[in-house]
């Protein structure tokens, strides 16, 4: 065993220098030079250059004039320092109660339409940036009411924001909530801000 200790110690030292420092730092160097936007978190900025979020990370939306993301189990909701799913099993009482409560509220705002599954379920990360196109269309009547915009124009905006699966079958169709809401703010400013400005 002792004769093996020298190569064990020396190789671990060399591996640490090569794989633990040189490798990640080299990738960081290439990344920061070639792909700075992605390497720093795909940040989205407003016209003043202020960071309003990451294109990849969901953020909390509760105001009725915005499209809402999915329920989130990350911290108190969309806590990007504490990603997490609910980890609740399919028969968990709290899960069933939560989905029922959420469904009652959603049904009140758009009676008669089928509530999409992703509208009442928490994502795996708690930071899902997307909702299904069906979920966006389900929320369209509320947004159209709150913004005083014809429903057709809101659904047209949704359709323009839908990302289709790669080659038609890799991944699922989806709408990025932050991008959709930013497009919404750009095209149809909220009624309150129209009055104010």
């Amino acid at each position: 065993m002792l004769s093996h200790l020298r190569p064990a110690l020396v190789s671990m030292g060399l591996f640490t220098a090569l794989l633990g420092l040189a490798y990640p730092l080299a990738v960081t160097g290439v990344a920061q030079a070639a792909f700075p936007a992605q390497a720093n978190g795909s940040l989205v900025r407003d016209t003043d250059g202020k960071v309003v979020g990451s294109a990849l990370i969901g953020q909390a939306f509760a105001k009725p004039e915005y499209f809402h993301g999915r329920p989130s189990a990350a911290g108190n909701g969309y806590d990007a320092m504490a990603s997490s799913g609910s980890n609740m099993g399919p028969l968990n009482d709290k899960l069933i109660k939560r989905e029922k409560t959420d469904a009652v509220a959603l049904r009140a705002e758009n009676p008669g339409s089928v509530i999409p599954a992703d509208a009442v379920t928490t994502s795996a990360s708690g930071l899902d940036p997307d909702i299904s196109p069906a979920n966006a269309r389900f929320q369209a009547p509320r947004v159209s009411r709150e913004r005083g915009v014809p429903l057709g124009q809101v659904t047209a905006l949704i359709d323009a924001q839908v990302q289709q699966p790669l080659l038609g079958f890799i991944g699922q169709p989806r709408v990025n909530v932050l991008a959709l809401n930013r497009a919404l703010d750009a095209r149809f400013p909220p009624i309150a801000s129209q009055k104010g400005g």
Partner: protein, 570 residues
């Protein structure tokens, strides 16, 4: 279920095999010390390693020496990781200001990363400094993967030798696998992943001012460099708590495809490398087919369970065509199902959806694939090694039926090989079921559970199955960062890693001295459909049957509860 879903699953699973083939040819050349196209760049570095370590790469070691070298390296790795994690608070590159880890958590994490398990009792973004992620966790991702590969290299040499002595040089196998295969491939994949959206920065976080006027602090790391080796090395330990479900680890369907393929491709490559080294390509093709059939069945099973009606969605009267709790919208059921099978069939353990929230039988399939011993295709090298053990047991069973001394790949399989084969596979259920049984009655263990009833038992069983199989995924409702769980899971991971490795090396040591025989009319062909069927049977009986009672009380009982609940609601 849709044709698009089936196409996505089929593409993801088979692409890993297709890419694994050429990589396996390359890996075999690396093991043999043949010249490769990377030699001009890497030869000098390789030579530097040998010189500094004082080893002669051409000196073949006995299986004892090979095993001792392997254990010495892992011991040094354990001490180093433990020390850095304990001292994290006073070490540099800690922009997050995190303190050192507790003794039991550092113990668990150190064993977890040296054994290629990457079970995580902690949440990365609230525990690990940038230095810890890079200096110990990323390094062990490479070294533990290469350690597994050395076992297959040694076993391959034992089969190819004719009355030989040594099984190769551990240090040469370790250093070559790391320098020629893992490092260059990880570098390329890491850069591609950055281009597709993964962060790669030394900054700790950025604060955004959201559209609704709140502040959102967003955790950042050098994600891509660790993500690449986390998948390619079949490690699975995520930077973030949500692992590959986190949009920074896996932002799009394309990154999902690339990383999912990366989970399995080097496992398959080790199969093909073994076949090329032993000059038994057809026999190894049979092993690959058997493993692929089981893996595909697992993915198909999960796709089926996740498109059944989830009780909560039925109760809430919402769309119940797919179980979306614990899934990301961009992945949905098919990409999650493919991942569940690939991560549990290999000993990866990363997740792109939460396994605890899968339908009962979906979670059961994840457990079952791990119980088979991590051979579909398992870890790099460790997978094919245990698969060969299964093949030895299969020819032994067939030999018993006809009363002939069995042979495999030109070597007689006798008492010593079978004894060590049984040792290699018996530790798995012993540790999985033994620890689960203890935990199920100890209050100290039970207080970590999130659920009671069958799902609670599944949380316990999943933890020890995952730990022993060196997988690392979890039913994460379990709060594992407590002394009982950290210590017992640490022991389970070490048992499940090192006993099978030593047993396989002992088999190699026994086989290497035997003469290489030419096949005769009485030799059982091990490259055809008959053998594939026999092998699948042995795998299912060995892996599946002994777990059936425990599974009946966990996922299977919960499945019938779920059916009952849905029927009552409708």
């Amino acid at each position: 279920m849709t044709w698009q879903g089936w196409a996505e699953i089929a593409l993801t699973l088979s692409l890993a095999v297709a890419i694994g083939w050429p990589l396996g040819v390359f890996l075999s050349r690396v093991w043999n010390g043949e010249k490769t196209f990377l030699a001009p760049v890497i030869r000098p570095v390789e030579g530097l390693f040998y010189k500094a370590c004082g080893v002669d790469p051409g000196k073949s070691q006995s299986w004892h020496a090979y095993a001792l070298a392997l254990l010495a390296l892992n011991l040094v790795g354990f001490v180093f990781v433990y020390a850095v994690l304990r001292l994290q608070g006073v070490l540099p590159l800690n922009p997050q200001g995190f303190p050192g880890l507790s003794g039991h958590l550092a113990f668990n994490t150190a064993i977890s990363f040296i054994t290629n398990t990457n079970w995580q009792s902690y949440a990365g973004e609230s525990t690990m400094s940038t230095l810890s992620q890079m200096l110990v966790l990323t390094v062990q991702n490479f070294v533990s993967a290469a350690t597994g590969a050395t076992v297959a290299a040694a076993l391959a040499r034992a089969f190819v030798a004719n009355r030989g002595e040594g099984v190769g040089n551990f240090w040469a196998d370790l250093i070559r696998t790391t320098l020629y295969l893992l490092l260059p491939l990880s570098f390329v994949v890491a850069v591609v992943l950055v281009a597709l959206g993964l962060p790669q920065t030394l900054a700790a976080s950025v604060t955004a001012h959201t559209l609704e006027g709140a502040d959102q602090k967003i955790s950042l790391y050098a994600v891509a460099s660790q993500e690449a080796i986390k998948m390619l090395g079949i490690n699975g330990g995520g930077i973030f708590n949500a692992n590959s479900a986190h949009p920074f680890e896996n932002p799009t369907p394309l990154t999902n495809l690339i990383t999912a393929v990366s989970i399995n491709t080097l496992g398959w490559a080790a199969f093909f490398a073994f076949g090329r080294t032993v000059l038994a390509k057809k026999d190894v093709r049979a092993l690959v087919i058997a493993a692929f059939v089981l893996l595909f069945a697992g993915a198909a099973g999960v796709y089926a369970t996740e498109t059944q009606s989830p009780p909560a969605q039925v109760a809430a009267k919402v769309d119940a065509s797919v179980n979306m709790e614990g899934k990301e919208v961009r992945f949905g059921a098919p990409a999650t199902a493919a991942w569940v099978a690939m991560t549990t069939g290999a000993s990866n353990g990363s997740v792109n959806g939460m396994h605890s929230s899968l339908m009962p039988l979906g979670g059961g399939i994840a457990m079952f694939l791990m119980q088979l011993g991590e051979i579909l295709p398992g870890g790099i090298g460790s997978g094919v090694a245990i698969m060969v053990v299964m093949a030895l047991l299969s020819v032994f069973v067939a030999g018993l039926m006809v009363g002939r001394t069995p042979e495999y790949l030109g070597k007689k399989v006798e008492a010593r090989e079978i004894q060590f084969s049984i040792l290699a596979v018996v530790i798995i259920p012993l540790s999985m079921l033994g620890f689960s049984g203890l935990a199920a009655v100890l209050p100290e263990a039970l207080k970590g559970l999130m659920h009671s009833g069958p799902h609670g038992l599944s949380e316990i069983l999943y933890a020890y199955v995952s730990g022993t199989a060196n997988n690392g995924s979890a039913f994460a409702g379990l709060t594992a960062n407590a002394p009982w769980w950290n210590v017992t899971l640490g022991i389970a991971m070490a048992l499940g890693r090192f006993l099978p490795i030593v047993a396989v090396l002992a088999i190699a040591g026994s086989l290497v001295t035997k003469p290489k025989l030419a096949p005769t009319a009485g030799t059982l062909p091990t490259d055809g459909g008959l053998f594939i069927g026999l092998l699948i049977g042995v795998i299912l009986i060995l892996g599946g049957l002994q777990f059936f009672p425990a599974m009946a009380l966990g996922p299977i009982a919960e499945h019938f509860q779920a059916l009952g609940a849905v029927a009552a609601l409708r």
